[in-house]
Symmetry: C2
Subunit: 317 residues, 2 copies
DNA sequence: CTGAAAGCGCTTACAG
DNA sequence: CTGAAAGCGCTTACAG
C-alpha cells in the first residue's frame, strides 16, 4: 500500500536507520491509515524472541502472600512494560516448574527472574547449565555462576544493631531468619558483629508472622527483662509486637523493636515499625534490566549487584 | 524421523483421534527419542492463539498492595497453568493500557481478566465493543453486556448485620465502601436492610486501612457509645481496630467489629477478625474458566456468576 | 486414515 | 539504499 517492498516496510517498522526518508514517510503514512500492527507470532518465528519473561515464585501461597511481592512486581513491570516485554507469573510447584524450562526451550520465554528460591531448589543450577538467561533475587547459598541482585544484608542488620545500642538498649535479642538461607545467615551475622557483645540471645524464625509470634514468646520466657529486639523480617516483627502487647510490654518504652524489609506490613504495625528498608523496586528493576541484557547478549558473564539498605525510623524503636 | 509425514506428526502431537495406532506410536517414540518440543510461535501463527491471557489491575500500587491479590492470582493460575496458558500481569496505567488492546488485536493475548476496575474506566466498554474475550471481577456499575463474576454482596453484608444483632449489639454503625463502586453500594444497602432499624449511622471509606482509621475516628467522635461496627473491607476493619484500641475500647467486649473479604489482613488483626469471606480463589478460577470458554467460543453471550459469601467467626465479634 | 502442498506474516541474507 | 526470494516451523483444507 505504501508502494514499497515488504522488506522496506519491515525496516521502517523496526527502525533500521538506513532507509530513505521518502520511503519512511510513505510507510508511516500507510501504517497510520490502515492501523497496521505487526504480528508478533510471525516476528517471533524468525527472531527467536518471545518478548516475554517469567517471574518465578516459590509455592503459590508463600510468596504471593508476602507483602514484599507487590514491590517486586512494580519494579520489574516498570522496565519490562517500557520495552513491551510481557511479565508472566509462574511458580516452582511441580506442574509449573516443568513449564518454565520447556517454555524456555521452545522460545516461549526469553528468560526468568527467580524470586526467593528455596536454597535446595535445583532450578537455578538447571537454568545455568542450560545457558538460559536468569537472574536471582538473592545470593545463592551454594556458589553458582549466576547473576544475582541482593541487598547488603550484613550492613542492614548492623544498622538495626547500632540503632538499638544508640537508643540505650542493653538487653538485646534477635529473632533470626531461617539459617539455611543466605538472608537468614547474613542478617544474624551482621547483627552480632555490630553489637558490643556478639554473644547475643537469638531464636530462629521462618520470616513469617507465626514464627515471629513463637520466637518472641520463647525469647520472653527465657529473658523476661530484654529491652530490644531485632526481627529479621517485618512479618516476624509484627508477630513479635502482638506477643509483647499481650505480655503487657509497651513498645518502644519497655522494649524496642526493629524489623527488616519495609514491606507494607511495617505500616500496618502498631506502633508503626522502625525497620531496615530494602530498595525492592530498584532491585527488581535492576533484575529486569540485567535479564534483558542477558537476552540481548547471551554470553554476558554473571554479575552481582549489591544495594544499600537504609534504616527507616518510625514508632517502634 | 518417525517415517511419517509432518501432517501426521502434527496430528499426533495435537491428539487428533483419527490416527492409526502404529503411526501414533512411531511418532511418540520419535518425540521421546529426540526431545522434540513444538514451536509455539509457528503454531500460534496459524492457530491465531497466543495461549496467554492478561490479568489487568488498576494502578500498580493499589491492587498489588491489596491483600486480596494473592488469592486472585492463585485461583486463576490453577486453571490457566493446567492448560498451559500464560498469565501476564498488566495494569491500567496510561502506558500499559494501550498495550492491552494492541496485544489483543495483534493476537499476542487471547483475552483479559479485569480486576477491580474503576467504575469510570472506559476499558471494559472498549473491550466489549472490540469483541475481545473479557471477564470482570465484579458487577459493572453501568449496565454493560459483559461477563462477570461477583459475590452476593448484599447477602454478605446481611450476614454481618445479623451477626452483630444476634450477639446483642444495639448501637451499630458501619464504615462503608466507596459509593461510586457496586461493592461499596451493595454492602451498605445489604447491611441496612438486614438491621431492625435501617437508619444506621455510617461513614464512607475507600476500602483502605487509612480510610478505616479516619472513618472509625469520625464515628467515635459522633457516637462514643457505639457497640458494633461493620467495616466493608478487612483493611478498613484493621484501621478501625487500631483506633478503638487507642481510645481504650476493648474488642469485642466494648465494641464488636466485623470485616469483609477474609483477606490475609484478617488474621493479622488483633484480635483476629470476624469477617465475611469471599471465595476469591474459586471466583478467580471461574473467571479463568469463563474467559477460556469465550476464547474457544467467541459468540458466547455474557453471563454472570454469583458466589455465596460466608461469615467467618473469629475474635473480633 | 494419510500425505503433498499451501499458507500463516514476518525478517534477513543476498544481489543489485 | 532497496527488492525478490527464501525460510522460520507449524496447521489444515484438499485429494486420494
Amino acid at each position: 500500500m505504501a508502494g514499497v517492498s515488504r522488506a522496506s516496510a519491515s525496516r521502517v517498522v523496526n527502525g533500521v536507520p538506513s532507509v530513505d526518508e521518502t520511503i519512511r514517510v510513505a510507510v508511516r503514512d500507510a501504517i497510520a491509515a490502515t492501523g497496521y500492527l505487526p504480528n508478533p507470532a510471525a516476528r517471533s518465528l524468525v527472531t527467536r524472541r518471545a518478548d516475554a519473561v517469567a517471574l518465578v515464585l516459590p509455592e503459590e501461597g508463600r510468596i504471593l502472600g508476602d507483602p514484599f511481592f507487590p514491590r517486586v512486581v512494580q519494579g520489574a513491570m516498570a522496565v519490562l512494560g517500557a520495552r513491551g516485554v510481557h511479565l508472566v507469573l509462574m511458580t516452582t510447584e511441580a506442574d509449573t516448574r516443568a513449564q518454565v524450562s520447556s517454555d524456555l526451550r521452545r522460545g516461549r520465554l526469553d528468560g526468568v527472574i527467580l524470586i526467593h528460591t528455596d536454597p535446595l531448589d535445583p532450578l537455578p543450577r538447571l537454568l545455568v547449565d542450560g545457558h538460559f538467561p536468569v537472574v536471582l533475587s538473592a545470593r545463592p547459598i551454594q556458589p553458582l555462576p549466576i547473576t544475582y541482585v541482593d541487598v547488603n544484608q550484613t550492613e542492614g542488620a548492623a544498622l538495626a544493631a547500632r540503632h538499638l545500642v544508640a537508643t540505650g538498649r542493653r538487653r538485646i535479642a534477635t529473632i533470626a531468619g531461617p539459617q539455611h538461607t543466605s538472608a537468614g545467615q547474613d542478617r544474624l551475622t551482621g547483627f552480632r558483629a555490630a553489637l558490643p557483645d556478639p554473644d547475643v540471645v537469638w531464636v530462629e524464625g521462618e520470616f513469617t508472622r507465626e514464627s515471629g509470634t513463637a520466637g518472641m514468646s520463647a525469647l520472653l520466657d527465657r529473658h523476661p527483662d530484654l529491652d530490644g529486639v531485632f526481627a529479621a523480617s517485618d512479618l516476624m516483627a509484627q508477630g513479635a509486637l502482638a506477643v509483647l502487647r499481650t505480655h503487657g510490654r509497651r513498645v518502644p518504652q519497655d522494649v524496642a523493636v526493629v524489623g527488616f524489609d519495609d514491606s507494607s506490613a511495617a505500616l500496618a504495625c502498631e506502633p508503626p515499625l522502625t525497620t531496615v528498608r530494602q530498595p525492592v523496586e530498584d532491585m527488581a528493576a535492576e533484575m529486569a534490566r540485567l535479564l534483558l541484557h542477558q537476552v540481548d547478549h547471551p554470553d554476558t558473564p554473571p554479575t552481582r549487584t549489591i544495594f544499600q539498605p537504609r534504616l527507616i525510623r518510625r514508632g517502634s524503636a
